[in-house]
Point group: C2
Chain length 175, copies 2
Amino acid sequence: MSPTLPASDFSATSKPAFYKTLVAQVEAVLDLSLPLTANLANISSVLFYALTDAPVSRKINWCGFYLTEDATAAKPRMVLGPFQGRVACTIIPFGKGVCGTAATKRETQVVKDVHEFPGHIACDSASESEVVVPIVVGDVVKGVLDIDCLVKEGFDEEDRVGMEAVVQKLLVLWQ
Amino acid sequence: MSPTLPASDFSATSKPAFYKTLVAQVEAVLDLSLPLTANLANISSVLFYALTDAPVSRKINWCGFYLTEDATAAKPRMVLGPFQGRVACTIIPFGKGVCGTAATKRETQVVKDVHEFPGHIACDSASESEVVVPIVVGDVVKGVLDIDCLVKEGFDEEDRVGMEAVVQKLLVLWQ
């Protein structure tokens, strides 16, 4: 049951312009009266189809969230949240793979070739590159936004900046 | 971050055979140690891609869950849960549209043409037909499984039986 979103122009020919539109779209969809799951489910969809449709982006195959289960645990881990794409890993310990590294280092990971990432968790062989942005609220890593691409070098520095701006807009969901 | 599922044969040439495989796949993905969101996120993906790939099924464009917020409320409503597809309605009151009707009547709705459904909630104009299965545990409607199709008459009696078998397998998530 999918409504039509307010029209958005994702035809921008520069990534900064594309991400400016995307951040506005994300903001338009957020509804703080709803549960986190409803918001992240719709945000995953906004991001997935915008990135799929946009001329400036490469073909992505997965977009979604992993959410920290208990940030105070001795060995914290993340659990699969809402996403778009094929069936996903359900548990990712902090420090493991690209997602776990982003969570532990609290730094966005832009991986041009996932097969060369040390400790990469063997996943869908269709994924060739990946960007993972940690979701940090105050001193706590609440989870990560994870996006996989079907080609190598699917994401660059402009994507990092753009994705981080998206995640900044989402932080209000945890506040 | 998507792992490869155990290989499943969705090439069945009859719907009963297809749904038998699908129910087994759903069962294989369920993990009762995980939160409801993680399970429903992966189940949405299993269903979406199986229905998309299977020769026996029509082209679907949305597959996911609406979850009852407070079943004891005077006017209960459902909130968007995990799904695959384009951005979705976030709130559906019991009794409204195809989903709300399935919840109120506690009966699967197979709608051959959504445009002719009384009280149909105006949604993605791409959706032409729909099947909605209520998720009933004991005496409580926990939500619905909603699947939209891009063509009219996308679902038939065999799909109803198959989808209900899928939902039966999911009930353990609420027990």
